[in-house]
Amino acid sequence: MATLFRVISSRASTQFPPRPKSLGTRSIAIAVVLVFATLAEAGAQQQNEERTHLGVTACSGNTCHGAVERLAGSSVAQNEYLVWSGKTDKGIDKHSEAYKVLLSDRAKQIAQNLGLKDAASSKICLKCHADYVDAARRGPQFKIEDGVGCETCHGAAEKWLGPHYSRVPHDVLVREYGLTALDNPMVRAQKCLSCHFGDPEDENRFVTHQIMGAGHPRMPFELDTYTAAEPAHFTVDESYIKRKGPVNRVQVWAIGQATSLIERMDALLKHPPKGVQPELVLFDCAACHHTIKQIRWRPRGSTGLGPGTVKLDDANAVMLRVISARVAPTVAKALTERMLALHRATTADWKTVVREATEVRRLVTELRDSLSTHDFTREDMKALAEGVLAVGLTGDDTDFPGAEQATMALGSIASAMSSPVMPGHLTAEQTKAMNDALGGLYKSISDAETYRPEAFVKALKDFQKTIPQ
C-alpha cells in the first residue's frame, strides 16, 4: 500500500489540458452513448473471444507503442509498451511480470501446497498470471512468458490490428472489430475484476480460500486507484478526450465499486458452502486473521452482527451506500436494509443468503446504471468525501477492508477534485495538503496485521481538515 501511495502521489502532478467547455452535459451524453454502446460491444467481445492473440510483439514496435518519442500527430504517447515493461521512470507495470512470479519460491510453495506439479504450467495460475488462451488461438509471436500482456485486456488483436493501424476511429474498433472498450469504466472494471477478484463463472480463474491458504497474497482492488497505480499507460489529454470522452475519476471509482459488489454477489451465489464451511475468500480476512488477544469485533449498525461471527467483506457495499446516499437516496436506504439482511442471513441459512445476495445484486445493477449517467460535480465530490469520512469517524466501519476502501476512495476523490478540467478545482496548495493527509491515511493501512482503527480514524480527521469549505 505504501508503494501504491507513492505511485499515486507522483501521478497527482499529471498535467491536464485546458478544460473543454460544458463538460457536464458532454459527459452525460458520452455516458449515455456508452451505456447503449455496451450492448453492441458485448456482441463484438463475444466473437473476439474466439480470435487469435498475436502477442506483445505485435504492439511493441518502435513506431507503434514502443516508441521512445512521440511521433508528430500521434494521438497517444506511444511509450505504452515501455511503461508496461518498466522501461520508463514510472516504475514497472507488474502485469508484465505476472508470469515470472509463477517461477518464484513463493509460487513454488503455493503450487506444492495445492498439490500442483508446477505453477507455471497450471491452468489455475496461468489464467490470471498470463494471457491464457488455447494453443489454437496463439499467434506465431505469442509468448505465454509475456505475462498479462496487451491482448489480455485489450482483446485478441487478430481482427482489429489492421483497422487500428490504419486509424479506424476508436468507437468503430470497439463496435465492429472487438477492441475492448477499457475507456468505459464498467467494461474496465469487469476486465480488471475478472482477475483482481476473479471470474465466478470460471473455476480456473478464481482465487479461492484454498489458494489463499496455500500462500497466495490477499487481493485488494479499487478501479480508479489501481488504474493510476498500474501505472496507467494512457494520458487523459485533449486528444484522448476527443476520441474517448472525458474521464471523471469519481465516476470511475463509483462504477468500480458497483461492479465489484455485483461480482461479489455473483461469486457468493456461485459458491455454496462445501461441507461445513462457506467460501471463506468472500469474507473479511481480518474477521479471523487477527491475533487472539487483539479482539477486532466492534458493534456495527450496518452489519448487526454479534461478536465471534465471520463477516462478509462488505467494504464495497459501505462505499456504495455513501455514493447512493448522494446520487440515489432511495437506493441508499434499500441497500442499507438489504445488506443488513444479507449479513443476518449468514447466521440463518444458505437459502436466505442466496435470496438476499440476489436482491443486493439486482439493486446494485440498477444503481450502476444511474452512476454511469450521473455527472459528478465538485459538490458531489465534496459530499462523497464527507460521506466516506463519516463512515470511519462515526465508527460505523473501521474494519480493515473498510479502511482500505475508504482510503483509496479519498485518493480518487482528491485526484478528481484537483483535476484542472473541473470547474472550481483545488489549488496547488490545497492539493498538496490533501495529498499529505492522504499519505497519513495510506500509512495507517499499510499493514493489515498491525492495523489499528484508532490510527486510521486519526488520519481521517487530518484528511477532513484539508477539504476546502
Binding site: 510453495q109 501446497n113 484454498q210 462457506p278 479482539i295 458493534p299 461478536p307
Partner: protein, 479 residues
C-alpha cells in the same frame, strides 16, 4: 458405553437425576488395581500388602449419588480445619488448603474478575446488563449450585470455592470432621478428585465446558466478545493451580499414589471424549453457514495472513485454507497409544485425518467421525487408568511426544502447547521417580523453561523456535 459418556455422567451428578456414573465405579475398581500394583513396585511388598487392604476398601467405596447443600467456603476455612497456618499434630493434610486457594489460586478470583475491566467489556459486547448476574458467566466463575442448594453462609462472590469441585458438603462434612477414612467421605458424597478421570471431568466441565449446558459453555460468540482462550492439560493445570495437596506417605495411604504421566494420559482421553461430545451436541450444531467455531483450532484462522501453515494442515488431513478442528488431544493420545495400545494408535492415526476431512463433507459426516473418535478415547480410558507407567514408558512417551513436534503437524500452536505440557508432566514423573541425577533434573528443568518460552504468547508463536527448544529438550532426556 457410547451413550454413557464422561460428560453425561457429570451432568447427571450435578442434576442428581440419575444413577451416578457407572464409569466412575469401574474407574475406581481399576484405580484399586493400579494402586496395588504400583505400590508393590515402589514401596516394597510388606507395606504394599497392608495398603492393598486399605485401598481395596477405597476401590469398592460407593459414591454418594446426590449433591448436598453447598455450605460455602466458610464451612471449610476454620483455623483448625483447612485454614490453618500450621499443621496440627496427626493431621493427614497440610491444613493450609484454604490459604493456598485464597492467596494463589485463580479459582478464588473467578467471580472478582467478572467485575474487572475485561469482564465488564465482554459483558457489554454480549449485551449483558452485568457479568455478575449473568448465568452464562456465573456458571463457571462461581460455584453454580442452584439457589435451593445454597446454605446460609454460601456466597457467590467466593468464586470457584471448595464445593465447586469437592461437592456440596452438607452430606459429608460431618463424616469428614469426625476423622473418617477417605472412602467414608466418598461414600457420603465427597467428589473423588484424586481419581484422574473424575478430576478431568470436573475440571473440564468448565475448562472446556458442558456443551449441553448453555450456562457452562464458552461459545465462539463469547470468545469474540473478548473471553481469553482456554488451554488445559490435567496434570499441568493441577500443578499450577497451585495444588493444595501434597502427595506424601499419608496421602498415598489414604488415596493411593499419583503418577503424573497417568494423570496426563487419562486427562487427554477424557478431554478428547468431551470435545467429541461437544461436536455431537445438537446445541453446538452449525448455525447459519458457519459451524460453532470454538470447537476448531484457534490457530487455523487466527494467524497473520503472511504465515500460512499449509503443509502442517495437509498432514492433519485438511486442505489449505480449510478450518481445522482442534485435535491436539487426539495427537497426544496417539502418542500414548503408540506405547500402550498399538492397535488403538493405528486407529487414531487414520481417525484424526478422517475427522478433519469430514469438514469438507457435511456436519453429519463430522459427527460420524466424532462418534468414532469418542469411542476410541473411551475405549482407551480403562487401559490408561490401569496401566502402571514405568520409567521406560515415560521415556518412550517423551520420545513419542517429541516426534509429534518434530514432524509437520507438531509445529502448530495447539499441538506445541499440548506437547509442552505433556513433556512437563512426564518430566515431573521422571523427577519424582528419584532415578535422575541432580544434573539431569536441572538440565530437564532448563530445557522445559526453554520450551515454555518458545510459545509464551500465541500471537508471536512460530514453529521454528519451538522445534529448536524441542530438540534441546530431547538432548536432556537420559537414555
Amino acid at each position: 458405553m457410547e451413550c454413557l459418556t464422561v460428560t453425561s455422567s457429570l451432568e447427571m451428578r450435578f442434576s442428581g437425576r440419575a444413577n451416578t456414573a457407572r464409569i466412575e465405579e469401574a474407574g475406581a475398581r481399576m484405580a484399586g488395581e493400579i494402586i496395588s500394583r504400583r505400590i508393590f513396585h515402589r514401596l516394597g511388598s510388606a507395606t504394599a500388602f497392608t495398603l492393598m487392604l486399605v485401598t481395596a476398601g477405597y476401590a469398592d467405596a460407593q459414591l454418594h449419588e446426590e449433591d448436598g447443600i453447598h455450605l460455602g467456603v466458610a464451612a471449610c476455612n476454620g483455623s483448625n480445619c483447612h485454614g490453618a497456618t500450621e499443621r496440627s499434630n496427626g493431621s493427614s493434610v497440610a491444613q493450609n488448603e484454604y490459604l493456598i486457594w485464597s492467596k494463589n489460586d485463580k479459582h478464588h478470583r473467578a467471580y472478582a474478575v467478572l467485575l474487572e475491566e475485561r469482564g465488564m467489556r465482554i459483558a457489554r459486547n454480549l449485551g449483558l446488563a452485568s457479568p455478575a448476574t449473568a448465568d452464562i458467566c456465573l456458571g463457571c466463575h462461581t460455584d453454580p449450585c442452584p439457589p435451593s442448594m445454597r446454605g446460609p453462609r454460601f456466597q457467590l462472590s467466593d468464586g470457584v470455592g471448595c464445593e465447586a469441585c469437592h461437592g456440596g458438603a452438607s452430606t459429608w462434612l460431618g463424616v469428614h470432621i469426625s476423622g473418617a477414612r477417605h472412602s467414608d467421605n466418598l461414600a457420603a458424597g465427597l467428589y473423588p478428585t484424586e481419581r484422574p478421570a473424575a478430576r478431568a471431568e470436573k475440571c473440564l466441565s468448565c475448562h472446556i465446558g458442558d456443551p449441553a449446558d448453555d450456562t457452562r459453555f464458552v461459545t465462539h460468540r463469547i470468545m469474540g466478545a473478548g473471553h481469553p482462550r482456554m488451554g488445559f492439560e490435567l496434570d499441568t493445570y493441577t500443578a499450577v493451580e497451585p495444588a493444595h495437596f501434597i502427595v506424601d506417605q499419608r496421602y498415598i495411604e489414604r488415596k493411593g499414589p499419583v503418577d503424573d504421566v497417568q494423570v496426563w494420559a487419562v486427562g487427554q482421553a477424557v478431554d478428547l471424549a468431551k470435545r467429541m461430545d461437544a461436536l455431537l451436541e445438537s446445541k453446538r450444531a452449525p448455525k447459519g453457514i458457519f459451524p460453532e467455531l470454538v470447537l476448531f483450532d484457534c490457530g487455523s484462522c487466527h494467524h497473520p495472513y503472511n504465515s500460512q501453515q499449509g503443509e502442517g494442515y495437509e498432514a492433519a488431513g485438511s486442505a489449505p485454507g480449510s478450518l481445522k478442528l482442534y485435535d491436539a488431544n487426539a495427537e497426544m493420545l496417539r502418542a500414548v497409544a503408540t506405547r500402550l495400545a498399538p492397535a488403538a494408535a493405528k486407529a487414531l492415526s487414520s481417525q484424526i485425518p478422517a475427522l478433519q476431512r469430514a469438514i469438507g463433507e457435511s456436519w453429519s459426516a463430522v459427527q460420524g467421525e466424532a462418534r468414532k473418535m469418542r469411542r476410541l478415547a473411551n475405549e482407551l480410558l480403562p487401559t490408561l487408568s490401569s496401566h502402571d507407567f514405568s520409567r521406560s514408558d515415560a521415556k518412550a512417551l517423551t520420545h513419542n511426544v517429541i516426534s509429534l513436534g518434530l514432524i509437520g503437524d507438531g509445529t502448530q500452536y495447539s499441538v506445541a502447547e499440548q506437547a509442552t505440557m505433556a513433556l512437563a508432566s512426564i518430566a515431573s514423573a521422571l523427577k519424582s521417580s528419584g532415578d535422575l541425577t541432580k544434573g539431569q533434573a536441572g538440565a530437564i528443568t532448563r530445557a522445559m523453561n526453554g520450551l515454555y518460552g518458545s510459545f509464551a504468547a500465541d500471537e508471536t508463536y512460530r514453529g521454528e523456535p519451538f522445534v529448536k527448544a524441542l530438540t534441546e529438550f530431547q538432548r536432556t532426556v537420559p537414555r
